[in-house]
Symmetry: C2
Subunit: 176 residues, 2 copies
DNA sequence: CTGATGTTTCAGTAATAACAGAAATATAGA
DNA sequence: TCTATATTTCTGTTATTACTGAAACATCAG
């Protein structure tokens, strides 16, 4: 395995890490993911340490997280005792998984919190009239988004791409 | 203005702040936004200080950021010298603005970085073959997403809601 | 102009999250 | 079983980001 990354790979890894951190994803996690994504074949944790120059433990934690998301998996290479890792390469599938996970972990709890607040506000009587109205609007928004997301999510990637392109056509018709 | 928030409002503000911080949005910024969203009428920075128990300067910074996003604006109340603030209440419009802003600030730079890496990798010759392939897939992904997003974005909220519900119908037909 | 009120900027501090390195644990082959 | 090697967990440190309070700046009424 190369100890030094090619400038192109290195540049991508850095940018990906940067973007991740802006969306609340640990920088190292995103970098590990980027490295795996551009790697032609499965690599070891040690390779990652060499490539990214981070602590072995940090790599271990990051891999664990990526495996928890289900986008990275352990693979075994004949004649090598060490674990090797690889990521999915289907970008659409990957995107869907990441979106699903983040929705589940960060959005869903908020949505149910909103629902709870809404019920409490309703129970509190007319003093919370405005609260009720605003939270209703928010809950409705989440419900529609959820529905739309679920239906798009269920589409196979190829159909989803078509839907998006179709969406573009619909958009142009409605907004010429 | 109430110095103490009602339990319902307080709960929502806390949850909203929590969610924001998980998506890379400053907690106080999100809390201020939540407070404004549930406020029946424009409130002053001082009101926000009382409600959230944070420093005046912190509120000032947060309001500036929210105004920078274009979802909060200064309004004047007759007979009061102080600035008052209010947020948009159209959740869909707000969502669109936030998405636009984040796309512009965090996604677009990454997309152009990917394009640059891709060109560099192409120029580097066959040694970067895999890099080229993977980055091409990624660039294609971004391009389709961008197109789909732009067309949905351009729809008026009511049409967008319909599109999402329609999307649900399409999805059910394709995945019964 | 001047003082009172309101707002923003800035430098230092505190809180949080990321990280390294060591220690502990697990596993495979001899 | 024992030893070498691989992996994970844990604790203390570092870096980053958020935040406070004070000072500077702005604006309005008198």
């Amino acid at each position: 395995m190369p100890t030094a990354l090619s400038p192109q790979v290195s540049a991508f890894v850095l940018h990906w890490g940067e973007m991740g951190s802006r969306w609340g994803i640990n920088r190292t996690v995103a970098q590990v993911h980027a490295l795996l994504y551009l790697s032609p074949k499965p690599i070891t944790a040690e390779d990652i340490v060499d490539a990214l120059q981070v602590a072995r433990s940090n790599v271990s934690t990051s891999l664990k997280e990526l495996m928890g998301w289900g986008i990275v998996r352990r693979v075994h290479v004949a004649g090598d005792r060490r674990d090797h890792f690889e990521t999915m390469t289907d970008v659409w599938a990957m995107f869907r998984i990441i979106l699903d996970e983040r929705k589940k972990r960060e959005l869903d709890p908020t949505v149910s919190a909103v629902r709870t607040c809404l019920e409490d506000a309703r129970a509190a009587g007319p003093s919370e009239q405005v609260t009720v109205e605003r939270l209703e609007a928010l809950a409705e928004f989440f419900a529609v988004m959820e529905g739309g997301y679920q239906s798009l999510r269920a589409l196979p990637p190829a159909v989803l791409v078509q839907t998006l392109k179709l969406g573009g056509a619909v958009g142009r018709v409605l907004n010429p």
